[in-house]
């Protein structure tokens, strides 16, 4: 067998095993909407850990973070900080979201906005922003799979056929088994990812430099500026670091799928305990950084940093091992991508289409429409991934600039009685509009500060100011009391 054949067979084997586990997880359960989206609200600490680790550690962590360590240097360290601090923030919001979610039967993030603020247009807008923010994130995953397969085939298979295969598998997988499948495939995915990260993070510096310490010593000697901020970039300094870490750690659980994952928990305490242990998983990423930094000296001059990790693995290890790393990488893209598609489809069917166009649809019909939407979304993201080329980190930060705008509405909605619907709507519109404007006009970062963060500040200011200027309402327009009041009932 040629090296490319060995490598691709290994990848395919790993993806097949992962997919089989996903199908088996869904076999013996009746899949109503509640089971499909929130797994019957019965996940304990272990399943929640797996589900969240499954969603959070995407191919961004694998290829994007190492790609930036290679091409940008120091600024990439923001990833270690934001992942850890995202869990710190989650400690104070997820148990509360879970509590109102259980009381009022919420399944999605948009349900939260609909029930807290009693305005279906606000809820629909939240859906649209959520779905739109998923697009770059999904595109990131598919681009990742494309990179993996083309490097693993020793450039024999193009990225387009590779991404097409990934989408077909992905859609079949989500179609069959819903959220429970994702938690179980995560077992395979996370085990492989930890093994892959440790072996390349330790192995690559060892093979080329004799150890991690020797590698950093060589890099500090040859390219000292690369290891600190702003690294190889002109404008990603400390102001960018602080603003980006705040933007992404506050926005971490504002992703509709991460937000909705809290509804699968058995109790609020489960989520609190989870927030304590999850940061440890971030240590895996440190090893991926070691491999990324090592490739700066091993493979100088690559134009696309996102290819650095796999190319250095291909140069350092036998083909079967590249296959294992590639398989881990492929699952690391597909598991989160399937949950993004699942979430976006549920949002579209349940929170956008039904309330606005077909109020009499039954839950079963919504579940059917959601499944049809899965296919549509798979195709749309495939088209985008084929026709665009941006670095993986830029795609992620674009999505964050969108979803973090939900933060004021969520946090003030939980903790501040005075906040009003008009204020949240106005803040969200202003935040999203300014983020989109700054990014499309290439003003990110603006004066060295992340554009998404500036938009978030504007959003917060508007919510606070308008809330204080508009009269508070205690009941929404359908006569439902606010979750807040249920708490004290």
């Amino acid at each position: 067998m040629s090296p490319a054949a060995i490598c691709l067979t290994t990848i395919l084997g790993i993806v097949a095993i992962g997919t089989a586990i996903g199908f088996l997880a869904g076999v013996h359960r009746k899949m109503d909407l509640e089971q499909w989206t929130v797994g019957g609200r019965g996940f304990g600490v272990v399943l929640i850990f797996l589900l969240m680790a499954g969603e959070v550690y995407t191919t961004f962590a694998f290829l994007g973070a190492s790609g930036w360590a290679y091409s940008r240097g120091g600024p990439t360290l923001y990833v270690l900080a934001y992942l850890t601090l995202g869990y710190v923030v989650s400690f104070f919001i997820l148990p509360q979201i879970w509590e109102v979610g259980r009381k009022l039967g919420m399944q999605t993030q948009s349900d939260f906005f609909a029930l807290r603020y009693g305005n279906r247009y606000l809820a629909a807008f939240v859906c649209i922003v959520g779905i739109a923010s998923f697009v770059p994130y999904l595109q990131l995953q598919l681009t990742g799979v494309g990179i993996i397969v083309s490097v693993a085939s020793f450039d024999g298979i193009g990225r387009t056929p590779a991404m097409t295969i990934a989408v077909v598998l992905l859609v079949a997988f989500v179609f069959a088994s819903g959220v429970r499948a994702v938690a179980w495939v995560s077992v395979v995915k996370d085990a492989l990812m930890v093994i892959a990260a440790l072996s390349i993070g330790i192995g690559i510096p060892l093979i080329h430099f004799g150890g991690i310490g020797a590698m950093f010593a060589a890099l500090a000697h040859a390219r000292p500026a690369h290891l600190t901020m702003p690294g190889a970039t002109p404008n990603l300094g400390h102001a960018w670091y602080v603003s980006t870490v705040l933007l992404t750690s506050l926005g971490f659980y504002m992703w509709p799928h991460a937000f909705a994952a809290s509804f699968t928990a058995k109790s609020g305490d489960t989520l609190r305990r989870n927030a304590v242990v999850m940061p440890l998983y971030t240590l895996t990423l440190a090893f991926i950084f070691f491999a990324g930094f090592a490739s700066v000296l091993v493979l100088p001059g690559m134009s696309n940093g996102d290819l650095a990790l796999l190319t250095v693995v291909r140069r350092s290890f036998p083909p079967w091992f590249l296959g294992i790393i590639g398989g881990a990488g492929a699952l690391t893209a597909m598991v989160p991508a399937s949950i993004f598609i699942l979430t976006a489809a549920t949002l579209f069917a349940k929170n956008l289409y039904r309330p606005l166009f077909a109020p009499r649809m039954s839950d079963d019909q919504v579940a059917k429409l959601a499944r049809a939407t899965v296919v549509m979304l798979g195709l749309i993201s495939l088209m985008l991934a084929i026709f665009s080329s941006t670095t993986l980190v830029s795609l992620l930060l674009t999505g964050y600039a969108g979803v973090t705008q939900f933060f004021p509405g969520v946090v003030l909605g939980l903790y501040w009685k005075r906040v009003t619907t008009v204020a949240v709507f106005a803040g969200l519109l202003a935040g999203v509009a300014s983020a989109v404007f700054l990014m499309l006009s290439h003003r990110d970062p603006l004066f060295g500060v992340s554009a998404g963060f500036l938009a978030l500040c504007l959003n917060f200011l508007i919510v606070a100011a308008v809330s204080l200027l508009t009269p508070a309402r205690s009941r929404d327009n359908r006569g439902l009391p606010h979750p807040w009041e249920l708490q004290h009932a």
């Binding site: 900080a81 850890t84 400690f91 509360q96 150890g211 290891l227 670091y241 109790s267 305490d269």
Partner: protein, 72 residues
Amino acid sequence: MKRPSLAALLLALIPFTAMCFSVSLWDRIDPMLLGLPFNLFWLICWIVLSCVCMWGAYRAEAARHRQDGPPA
């Protein structure tokens, strides 16, 4: 909604200060510790120390929730 305790909030502020706001104090290469540039070493340490802080916050919150009767 019940607000978190001051103790838990202060404990949560520690990792934010250490990993985010104080960046200009630790973003340098030297001294290299355990073979790592100082900024990378600092962040890796704080991943672990953040867990310790949040464990403290968990103890503070769990005690409060027990006082209210069965855990939510």
